[in-house]
């Protein structure tokens, strides 16, 4: 139990040597600071316990407000009500919309000294107009997570291009009609944005003082055509992921891959722990043979909110977790995240592979290779609207058998209309 400063001083008042120490303590009559902290990764509790044990003056209280989408909705609502937590984990996709809604605090002065721990591209994910709004926590370089044993059993080579992916999908269907290479439902907005970026599309970009929106640019529409063909030929499913239905297929070994990002092994392990050892990770297939570029899917940053009464202490926790060796060890071992900092990524290379694929010794080496090739993505201020419209329109296209590219065009139109209505400068084109 911690003694109150006054009692502590009284007990030691005889000793002149410690008097100065007591004086410092009584200058802070409020006692320990408590920070509210919202985060969803597994293992966050351990992280907080470690910090609290080492920092009696800055106590962190963890709440799990749901996954990325859910958490950012609640954060926005809490902020509008004036009682947001001090610290919150936020996905890169929703950070701009939260900045526009005035949720995060600019913390440039508090965290500027840890910038060197990150690559320029990663740091740019949380910096807007020179103002820093968060410390990058984890990144999701895109990758193909697949059932190594089933691919081998069916004699299907691991695809390195999307053309090979189509051939692999057809080969899987022919060799085992009960299995399917993957499911890509309309809810996978982040995936489609990622592969469109990989193909050279730019869903949002900044042009001087104006936004431009490219959800229906030529590269993205070709991506739409490609996946539409796979779906209409029955080579992929378009059923939602992580439903009891999907999980049953993963457990039965009839769902053969998940093109997503390096965080996928943790997710699969949580729904099908018994399949550990049968999975492997490879770089995401490419649109052009020989290319190496991929985009990010997912990934998050830790922000300090406007409502925080202790922004300095909050920023201290954020930098400790994401830019210190101790913090990155916890990110890797306890939260199974792929750290955003170069420091953490270097440390990862000597780490054991995820428990889902213990045989893949080069997991983090491959991750580092992919990560070095990621193309930066700019997210716009209304990604949530884009995601919602995209899901509905693509769902409709799949059900009605209309072209997928129409869904991309409809999303583009809705996003531009919404941005114009809100008052953003959007260039036509």
């Amino acid at each position: 139990m911690r003694m109150r400063p006054l009692v502590a001083c009284a007990a030691t008042v005889a000793s002149l040597a410690v008097l100065s120490g007591c004086g410092a303590a009584s200058a802070d009559p409020e006692g320990p600071v408590t920070l509210e902290y919202w985060a969803w990764p597994a293992g966050s509790k351990t992280v907080v316990d470690e910090w609290n044990a080492a920092n009696p003056d800055i106590q962190v209280k963890l709440s799990d407000a749901g996954g990325g989408d859910e958490s950012s909705q609640k954060l926005l609502t809490a902020s509008r009500a004036g009682n947001a937590p001090d610290l919150a984990l936020v996905e890169y996709t929703t950070l701009p919309s939260l900045i526009v809604a005035d949720v995060p605090l600019e913390i440039t002065d508090y965290v500027g000294d840890v910038q060197d721990a990150f690559t320029e591209g990663t740091w740019a994910q949380t910096t807007f107009d020179g103002a820093v709004f968060g410390v990058p926590q984890d990144v999701g370089p895109m990758a193909l997570v697949f059932r190594e044993d089933r691919f081998e059993e069916l004699g299907v080579p691991v695809p390195t291009t999307w053309e090979e992916f189509r051939e692999a999908a057809a080969a899987v269907k022919e060799a085992d009609p009960d299995s399917v290479i993957t499911s890509l439902p309309p809810t996978e907005f982040g995936f489609f944005a990622g592969v469109a970026t990989q193909a050279g599309g730019q869903w949002w970009s900044v042009n001087g003082e104006e936004w431009s929106v490219g959800i229906a640019d030529e590269a993205s529409l070709e991506v739409a055509d490609y996946f539409e063909e796979l779906a209409t030929e029955g080579l992929i499913q378009t059923e939602p992921l992580l439903t009891p239905e999907y999980n049953a297929m993963v457990n039965a070994g009839t769902m053969l891959s998940w093109p997503s990002a390096v965080w996928a092994p943790g997710v699969i392990e949580s729904v099908a722990p018994d399949t550990a050892g049968s999975w492997a990770m490879a770089p995401l297939p490419q649109w052009t043979p020989g290319d190496t570029a991929v985009a990010y899917q997912g990934g998050s940053a830790l922000v300090v909110t406007k409502d925080s009464e202790h922004p300095e202490e909050a920023a201290k926790f954020a930098t400790w977790l994401n830019a210190s060796e101790e913090g990155n060890t916890l990110l890797l071992d306890e939260q199974s995240l792929y750290p955003a900092s170069s420091l953490g990524q270097e440390m990862a290379e000597s780490n054991d592979p995820p428990t889902l694929m213990p045989q893949q010794d080069d997991f983090y080496a491959v991750s580092a290779d992919i990560s070095a090739q990621t193309v930066p993505v700019t997210w716009g201020p209304n990604v949530n609207l884009a995601k919602s419209v995209f899901e509905d329109e693509l769902g409709k296209a799949i059900r009605n058998g209309t072209p997928w590219r129409d869904a991309f065009v409809a999303t583009q139109d809705a996003v531009v209309a919404d941005m114009k209505e809100t008052g953003f400068a959007v260039s036509d084109g």
Partner: protein, 292 residues
């Protein structure tokens, strides 16, 4: 002074939790979050008059949501009321056994929260976990498409019917119990059988209860939310704007457009009141006509 004091608690609660929030919602519906033309400016609240109402009333998806509600309502409301009336009449016949048990058994689903009921039925609908599809597959008939196409309406209505019959039955049954026994006695003396008594005496006498439960069911239909929202992650057939309340939820919490959500809520509330008043008017006029 005393009368005011006695009514004060109710009035204060009504003002604080009804009038003030409603007034705030209406006020909010005339405003919008706007930014000045910068790349990442900050949103400020501005007055936009009826812009939000125009947007709501010209939104084809919002209107389509009402269309889907109508299909759902046409299935759910008559079946709920019909089954509730049937069960109430059966329980009210002198020959019925295990009345107390039957009443409780039919009422229990109403005590199951909507979200829990939707999850429970969701598992019974999903192909890999559905016992019904398991049987049809074993018979070589394939999987039942509970969550696709037109089947979805029936599946959603089924959840509401399962949960709603008990409550409506209790209201109708209570109304049946209040009919004086002498009426039945004289009917029997005149030679009426149980079926005739049910159709000619009981049903006309519980019409007020049927109207009440009908209006409740209609309001419940307009407020459909938790069942489709709970089933949404299980199927792509339910969009984010499937029913009006889902659109309102999305605008309020998903896309940060609380004023638009407030406008849509006002439209929905006014529409609900209008529909209820019109139906009550029609029913009352008809009944007065009969009595005359």
């Amino acid at each position: 002074m005393a009368p005011y004091l006695f009514t004060a608690p109710a009035v204060i609660l009504y003002v604080a939790f009804m009038l003030v929030p409603v007034g705030y919602a209406v006020w909010l519906s005339l405003r919008a979050y706007r930014i000045e033309g910068a790349l990442l400016g900050r949103k400020t609240e501005v007055f936009v008059g009826l812009d939000n109402y125009v947007a709501v009333l010209t939104n084809p998806e919002f209107a389509a949501g009402f269309g889907r509600l109508a299909v759902y309502g046409v299935i759910a409301v008559p079946l709920t009321l019909g089954l509730a009336l049937l069960f109430a009449l059966v329980l009210d016949t002198p020959a019925a056994r295990l009345k107390r048990f039957g009443r409780t058994a039919i009422f229990i689903p109403y005590a199951v929260p909507g979200v829990v009921a939707a999850l429970l039925w969701g598992f019974m609908y999903l192909p890999s976990t559905s016992p019904f599809s398991y049987v049809t597959r074993a018979l070589g008939l394939g999987t039942i498409p509970f969550l696709d196409g037109p089947g979805l309406f029936g599946s959603l209505a089924n959840i509401a019917i399962w949960g709603g019959v008990g409550f409506n039955m209790i209201i109708i049954y209570t109304s049946l119990r209040s009919i004086p026994g002498e009426i039945y006695e004289s009917a029997r003396l005149d030679g009426a059988g149980e079926v005739q008594i049910a159709l000619r005496i009981k049903v006309p006498l519980v019409v007020p209860a049927l109207v009440l439960t009908g209006v409740f069911s209609l309001i419940g239909t307009l407020q459909l939310y938790s069942e489709p929202a709970t089933l949404q992650p299980m199927t792509s057939a339910i969009s984010n704007t499937w029913v009006p309340l889902m659109t309102i939820y999305r605008d309020a919490f998903g896309t940060d457009d609380l004023p638009q959500a407030a406008a849509a809520s006002t439209v929905l509330a006014v529409g609900t009141v209008l529909v209820s008043v019109v139906i009550l008017r029609i029913v009352n006029r008809k009944r007065m006509g009969v009595e005359r």
